[in-house]
């Protein structure tokens, strides 16, 4: 039997259904009846960091080549009958997929034939087909994808930072792997990873838009193949509390230097809660938004520009960091100013006005994100994998208090665990 639960938000006037399907899959259905389009995501809790894992009913852990989750994402589009894009071409849906550090998602958006498109999505993700020949063919394509990222300064500056912050955690490894690591990928390895991680108990389906929940569930009943209830343990080597190095620099063909400045945190076993996340987001907003004294000082000194300067809370299984990023003629000076401002807030706190403003901004931004079916669908999936929920996060923002926000500084933004990554122009 499928178990259906309704989740509502009075504050935003929105609602969705969560279904625990008898196959083991968790399904989110978020109706937006007035929309022309619908957006669906079928995701698995499996990303680039999962290069070592153990299944609950197996005796020993497995280690697999770097980049295999992403490779698998490319190859899953193919089946004996042809590729999934060719099938979507008959429904008019716009389809894609992405692999991140901790998940792989297959998605489509469409304005008609939504149930036919959903059927294709559910079918091809559940139908692996890997042969020596098809696996070989992908080496050239993914090789070019890797080369494209080699020239991408934003990508390079981020991975250089992660390499400076993390000693052992696989978050420091490029999502697509390297040309050498992907050369080791075989059909057998792909099947092994597929059979482990594409278990419906490890997956989430989410559909947002102009859909009838009843028809979605009928289709799921028809298409989903029950999976055996196993759990998968992600295995990470112990990560020291320290950073690897405090500064890293690479030269690339850029006209203006880029930087990422990160503060590593001790990641607990579990993920951050909605409340912790809301408090961190408000803290970072107060610290460095365009309304902040820090932002103004950096602008007046000509150290940042409005188009590129920003912050992010980068958090996942076994890792958590606050990252500031942007373009600057002098990234070291930016890092120094950020450190100084953090110390100032640590000593002097935040004014009631600055706190209220930061809270309003974070609230408004998250409310605005509810306009987009794609943003909702992708959020619901990633929140589910993190054990969080969309509306309770928005409520946590609206209900945050100043003291709790400031207490985040006890474990966050500690100066001894910061590192600066710079990409500068070739001479």
């Amino acid at each position: 039997m499928n178990q259906i639960q309704t989740v509502t938000s009075e504050r935003t006037g929105e609602m969705y259904y969560v279904v625990r399907h008898s196959s083991g899959l968790k399904i989110y259905i978020y109706p937006k009846a007035q929309n022309n389009s619908s957006y669906a995501v079928f995701g698995t809790r499996y990303g680039s960091i999962d290069n070592c894992f153990q299944v609950s009913d197996e005796p020993a852990p497995h280690r697999v080549p770097n980049g295999i989750a992403h490779y698998l994402e490319h190859k899953l589009f193919e089946s004996k009958e042809g590729d999934a894009f060719a099938r979507y071409a008959k429904t008019g849906a716009s389809a894609n997929a992405y692999t991140s550090f901790d998940m792989t998602c297959y998605l489509f958006s469409c304005t008609e034939n939504v149930y036919d498109s959903l059927k294709i999505l559910l079918d091809f993700v559940q139908s692996p087909y890997f042969t020596e020949q098809t696996v070989q063919k992908e080496q050239g394509i993914i090789g070019q994808e890797i080369r494209m990222y080699d020239d991408d300064p934003q990508w390079r500056v981020m991975f250089n930072l992660l390499g400076a912050l993390y000693h052992t955690h696989p978050v420091k490894i490029d999502i697509a792997g390297t040309v050498e690591s992907i050369a080791k990928i075989t059909p057998q390895l792909l099947y092994q990873c597929y059979n482990t991680f594409y278990n419906l108990n490890n997956m989430v389906l989410c559909i947002v838009g102009n859909v009838e929940p009843k028809r979605v569930l009928e289709l799921c009943d028809q298409m989903l193949k029950p999976s055996k209830p196993v759990s998968i343990r992600r295995i990470f080597e112990p990560e020291p509390e320290t950073i690897v190095r405090s500064r890293v620099e690479q030269k690339l063909s850029v006209a203006v230097p880029l930087f990422e400045f990160g503060f590593k945190e001790q990641a607990a076993n579990g993920r951050a809660t909605s409340k912790q996340l809301a408090e961190t987001d408000i803290l970072l907003e107060a610290l460095s938004s365009p309304a902040s004294p820090l932002f103004r000082r950096l602008l007046d000194e000509g150290l940042i520009n409005e188009a590129s300067f920003g912050h992010e809370y980068f958090e996942g299984p076994g890792f958590a960091s606050v990252i500031f990023s942007g373009e600057s003629k002098n990234p070291d000076a930016v890092a120094e100013e950020i450190r100084a401002e953090i110390q100032k807030i640590r000593r002097g706190g935040l004014s009631a006005e600055a706190f209220k403003r930061a809270k309003n901004s974070v609230y408004g931004r998250n409310l605005a994100a509810l306009n987009s079916t794609g943003s909702i669908a992708n959020s619901l999936v990633s929140l589910d994998f993190a054990g969080r929920e969309l509306f309770s996060y928005i409520n946590a923002v609206a209900g945050a208090d100043r003291d709790s926000v400031l207490r985040r500084l006890d474990s966050q933004l500690l100066p001894e665990t910061s590192a600066l990554s710079v990409v500068s122009p070739v001479q």
Binding site: D152, P290, A291, F295
Partner: protein
Amino acid sequence: MEMKNRMTGIEQRPICDGVNFRAIRDGRFKTVRMSVHFMLPLEKKTASANAILPFLLTRASRKYPDFTKLNEHLADLYGAVLDADVQTLGDVQILSVSASGIADRYALRGENISSDLSDLLCSVLFDPLLKDGQFPEDGFSQSKRQMIELTDSEFNDKRLYALRRCREIMCSEEPCGVGRFGAKEDIRSLERSSLTSVWDNLIRRARAEVMVLGDCDPEPVYRRFSEAFCRLGRASAVPCPTKVVKSADTVRQTVERQDVAQSKLVMGFRTETAEPDKDVPAVKLMSVLYGGTPSSKLFLNVREKLSLCYYCSSLYDPVKGILAVQSGVEQKNAGRAKDEILAQLDLVKKGGFTEEELKAARMSLCNSYRTISDSLDGLEAWYLSKTFSDPLRRPEQEAARIQAVSREDVVQAANRVTLDTVYCLTGNEVEKQ
């Protein structure tokens, strides 16, 4: 005088000569977006001075003379955003200032956000901070520095950079070849003293589109902007023509070397077809069939069959009548990729595509048109791109026009295409033969 031309969803009426008001009221959205877009012909001598204005104006106004105070006000309004943008549409430079924020009904303390946003927009556009009749030095030098850095950051993104360079080379004898900001030297040599009259020209002589989209009553916003524009005593609007080069006689080839791992190949074609030709929908459909989707000719052959690249796609600009194909390849494979791109075009010219391929392209394109109405950004971009179109079509009506394109129309569209420019950005190492 109140002329309302009501189509389903969009309402439009003139504010005064050269100034048009368009509104879409839709309670589905949690937000409201208001924007004013000024349009002027692109010219080398004025491009940079015009382009700095949206950035300069959104830094401060007489009512909010301080950058931080202005941003505090925006944060108080639940993180409202005041944004400046410069883009090109054909040979026209569009200078935009917009304000977006959450709809009034979601304010935690019952604030009237939409009214504040329209006041704010009018304040920065029509009542800027001037000292002795000039924009203040600090705001000017900030805007100038940041514009130069924006230009530099376009160099950092090699995919975009290559696309832009190809277009510059291809359109070097057309106004749009100037680029949206003009040349970097022209930004550097901007002088503060000249900008007050450039601003005056912008608000009094440029054609303008005011848009209000989302969950908001447009009536008070209309009144607010009507007052503001009518008070200016506007002169007649500067005309904004676009030059269309129908076809290419010879092929321009450019190779540029930089320290990059992957080469970027961009090929620019003329299509003989631009707005308002009745054949524009046929070229749109042809471009999608040729290289617009993962089931297109370019994707299936250059990427999937030959494994030469990760991306290879085509994009049609109906205002200039230009088709561009872009791909990222190994230096040694650039020649093969180019040959295959041309071979696939020849195939389309000869009608070498199935009914299924045609139908797939049609469905994909119609799908993207029907999706536009689900986002405020999509709606704004659509209606802005239709500023010079008569009649004004909704995206759903454009989808209907695509449905009517026949196989023969697509073949004819492909046969009008000529190669104009081949641009390749490539690594410094000279290829070993």
